[in-house]
């Protein structure tokens, strides 16, 4: 068990804490499901996590630190969130705190979202395009992707001019690449291979 301050910098992903975070995430989703308010609770968790990380990093590292006694953090949570967040969320944060796992908030909230999305048959999909897409294009993509993956896509759009043209769609670990950049790269490697063959042919 790690005793150092949890890493809150923009690392890709901390897979070591994933297992622990998953247990907490499952617990909160199950609790929320009983009162039928998973969507709002997961949303609230995400919001708190985002606010803390973006707006008040010092508070975030304070809460995440294991050298701060749990009682004083509990007080901060009670006073800071009491009344403003739903009772279930505050209770959950208190439980996290009591177990010294507040530092996992980011992992827990994203894991909770993933679990809930899976239950709702929704899949996060990233769309990269070279230029900003207009609404009709986005709607068309939404329909196509939904049919392709057989689930409700949660689309997030990114603009990357280095693609030159075309689209790159990522669903989970699967990457569907129809960008001009990749086509050019493919063409380049094929030309090099062809040229090597031609060179040997002329040598013979």
């Amino acid at each position: 068990m790690s005793t150092t301050a949890p890493d809150v910098t923009e690392t890709v992903f901390d897979d070591k804490s994933l297992q622990v975070a998953r247990s907490y995430a499952e617990a909160i989703v199950n609790v929320a499901a009983k009162s039928n308010e998973v969507e709002s609770i997961v949303g609230e968790l995400e919001e708190i996590d985002r606010d803390l990380r973006v707006l008040d990093r010092r508070l975030y590292s304070y809460l995440g630190s294991t050298s701060v006694p749990a009682e004083s953090k509990a007080k901060v949570l009670e006073e800071g969130l009491g009344g403003r967040a739903s009772a279930t969320v505050v209770r959950f944060l208190q439980v996290l705190n009591a177990h010294g796992r507040l530092g996992l908030l980011q992992a827990v909230s994203s894991e909770a979202r993933a679990i809930w999305d899976r239950k709702q048959n929704r899949k996060p999909v990233t769309i990269q395009s070279a230029v900003e897409l207009d609404d009709s294009q986005k709607a068309a993509i939404h329909d196509k992707v939904a049919r392709m993956i057989g689930a409700t896509p949660i689309l997030s759009y990114q603009v990357d001019p280095s693609l030159i043209g075309g689209l790159v769609i990522q669903v989970g670990d699967d990457l569907y690449d129809a960008s001009i950049r990749t086509k050019l790269r493919l063409m380049r490697s094929r030309l090099i291979a062809g040229q090597a063959r031609a060179m040997v042919d002329t040598q013979l």
């Binding site: 129809a178 990749t182 493919l186 030309l191 002329t202």
Partner: protein, 570 residues
């Protein structure tokens, strides 16, 4: 090299016109951490173990550890330009290397990329780096000799095609020299050699390639080199890649191949490095638990493949064309030794006349392995040496004491063995060298005894003198492999006592001049021996006559020295 610009342009034009690409679907992950030639990747949930992955800078990797939340990847190249968060793409296939005739004469890295500055390598064939070894039915007993051209080895620890013979010894005892001599001796035999240099100094490898080239051995040799400065991943993969390149000739061409792994101790060290970095649990000497398997699955791929036979009409052009399985008149293919029996039976039963049995051209290939192991201070009971000794079919021990006493190759006959090679020895060699090992062992014992200064009876003294001369006869300079017929004739002279009156110091000169005498004046005798491969009565008689004739001549030129030194021992 001349290029015609318009030709290149037309090739390019054709390529572009035919270029057609659809949406590519790939599996991706992201780099969690990278360092020491290892990357941990999140994602890649469908990746296979041993599958190739590609990093954005073009470097390839190999999925090695599949864990619940991440994949451990060994990076096959420069890892310093890979960053955290970068996308890793699964390539959808296991690691393959190019193989084929185009590789012969080339120096390549373990990925099959040429590193000899001699242009690109174009071959339509490729093979999996890790492939399974042939099973029991696919093999047949080792029965053909793999001549190393070294008297001490061909006589006492003979190697057969398909055998795995370990060369083990301390540093600087001539392990590589034996392997190189064995490669040089394959000239003109059609054997394809693969020399795998693992974690050696680039200068050493360069010098070695030069030796091979000068001796004309690069015409049939592939050098696979993973230098000391290459990543551990490449050093680990090199022997498997080299084996895959040899396997092409064994499986697809029915050819005989010889693979030298120089050396497996360094490969084990590279594998230990990778395993520890991937946090696999360390075992004895910090090697991972499966280091035995790493070597056994490599050496298990050495084989003498079973011959395949078909029944063909008498007029079939078996000598001119490649015999394929479709030639069989009854549609049957007979596999291995039991298959040959069955084919003979079928031939007698169903095709009494006008037919014969023919071996298919692409069957019966072999892969002989010469792994090298470096010991520390002669310690053969260390982990890796014991492992590899138990895997191989015999071992050649090289002793530093012998080496520095001038006995080169420094083979310790007492503890060197070959478990299967005896069956593959030619009849002539078997006859000449049959008792040699025991005689030499007895001589070593006597020699130790004689050092006490005891008075010796005549018979013992004679045995000692014979021993000194045999030891001298078994010495052989580097890069001078001998044909088996020459070896047989030399050893015959020694064991039959023709050297007894020759002073010990004169033995090498005697041998050299005798072989030249045979080559020049008695070449028909030599040819007969090469053809018959056994000591038939006319050969023995001819040899005896030749030796007597030569000895008379030899003695007359060194009369004075002979009388002064005869029987003086060392």
């Amino acid at each position: 090299m001349k290029f015609r610009a318009d030709e290149i342009t037309s090739v390019l034009q054709r390529e572009i016109e035919q270029f057609d690409s659809e949406v590519t679907r790939t599996e991706v992950g992201r780099v969690l951490e990278v360092g020491d030639g290892i990357a941990r990747v999140h994602g890649l949930s469908g990746v296979m173990t041993g599958e190739m992955v590609s990093f954005p800078n073009g470097v390839k990797g190999l999925a090695f550890n599949l864990e619940e939340a991440s994949v451990g990847v060994i990076i096959l190249g420069d890892y310093t330009s890979i960053h955290e968060g970068e996308t890793v793409t699964a390539m959808g296939e296991l690691l393959r290397v190019p193989v084929g005739e185009a590789l012969v004469g080339r120096v390549v890295n373990p990925l099959g990329e040429p590193i000899d500055n001699r242009g690109p390598l174009v071959t339509p064939h490729s093979r999996l780096v890790e492939s399974t070894a042939p099973g029991i039915a696919g093999r047949q007993p080792v029965d053909e000799p793999m001549q190393t051209g070294i008297k001490a080895i061909d006589a006492m620890t003979p190697i057969g095609r398909g055998q795995r013979q370990l060369i083990i010894g301390d540093r600087k005892t001539g392990k590589t020299a034996i392997a190189i001599d064995a490669i040089l001796n394959q000239k003109g035999t059609g054997v394809i050699c693969v020399y795998v240099a693992i974690a050696q100094k680039e200068s050493t490898t360069a010098a070695l390639v030069e030796v091979l080239r000068k001796n004309g051995a690069m015409d049939y040799t592939i050098v696979v080199a993973a230098g000391a400065s290459d990543p551990a991943s490449l050093q680990y993969l090199a022997p498997y890649a080299g084996t895959a390149m040899a396997e092409y000739f064994m499986y697809e061409k029915g050819g005989a191949t010889l693979c030298v792994y120089d050396d497996l101790s360094k490969q084990a060290v590279a594998y230990r490095e990778l395993s520890l970095l991937l946090r696999r649990p360390p075992g004895r000497e910090a090697y991972p638990g499966d280091v035995f398997y790493a070597h056994s699955r490599l050496l298990e791929r050495s084989a003498k493949l079973a011959n395949k036979y078909v029944i063909v009409p008498d007029h079939a052009p078996v000598d001119k064309e490649d015999v394929t399985e479709s030639w069989g008149v009854n549609g049957k293919v007979y596999l291995g030794v039991p298959g040959e029996e069955e084919a003979k039976h079928d031939l007698k039963e169903s095709f009494p006349t006008g037919h014969k049995i023919a071996k298919t051209t692409t069957s019966g290939g072999s892969l002989t392995a010469l792994p090298l192991i470096e010991t520390l201070e002669g310690e053969v009971s260390a982990y890796i040496p014991t492992n590899v000794i138990s895997i191989t079919d015999g071992q050649i021990y090289l002793q530093p004491d012998l080496f520095f006493a001038g006995v080169r190759p420094a083979v310790d006959v007492g503890i060197s063995v070959s478990r299967v090679g005896g069956k593959a020895q030619t009849g002539a060699m078997k006859k000449v060298a049959g008792g040699l090992r025991l005689d030499l062992a007895a001589f070593r014992e006597l020699e130790a005894f004689a050092q006490l200064g005891t008075e010796l009876d005549k018979a013992t003294q004679q045995q000692l003198d014979r021993g000194y001369r045999m030891v001298e006869l078994l010495k052989q300079p580097q890069y001078q492999p001998l044909n088996f017929a020459d070896q047989v004739m030399s050893l015959y002279a020694g064991t039959e006592g023709y050297l007894d009156e020759v002073p010990v110091k004169e033995v090498p000169r005697f041998e050299q001049e005798f072989l030249r005498f045979i080559a020049v004046e008695k070449s028909s005798l030599r040819d007969q021996l090469i053809k018959e491969k056994k000591m038939s009565d006319p050969v023995v008689a001819g040899l005896k006559a030749a030796l007597t004739e030569f000895k008379a001549r030899f003695r007359s030129t060194t009369k004075a020295a002979t009388s002064a030194l005869a029987g003086a021992g060392a």
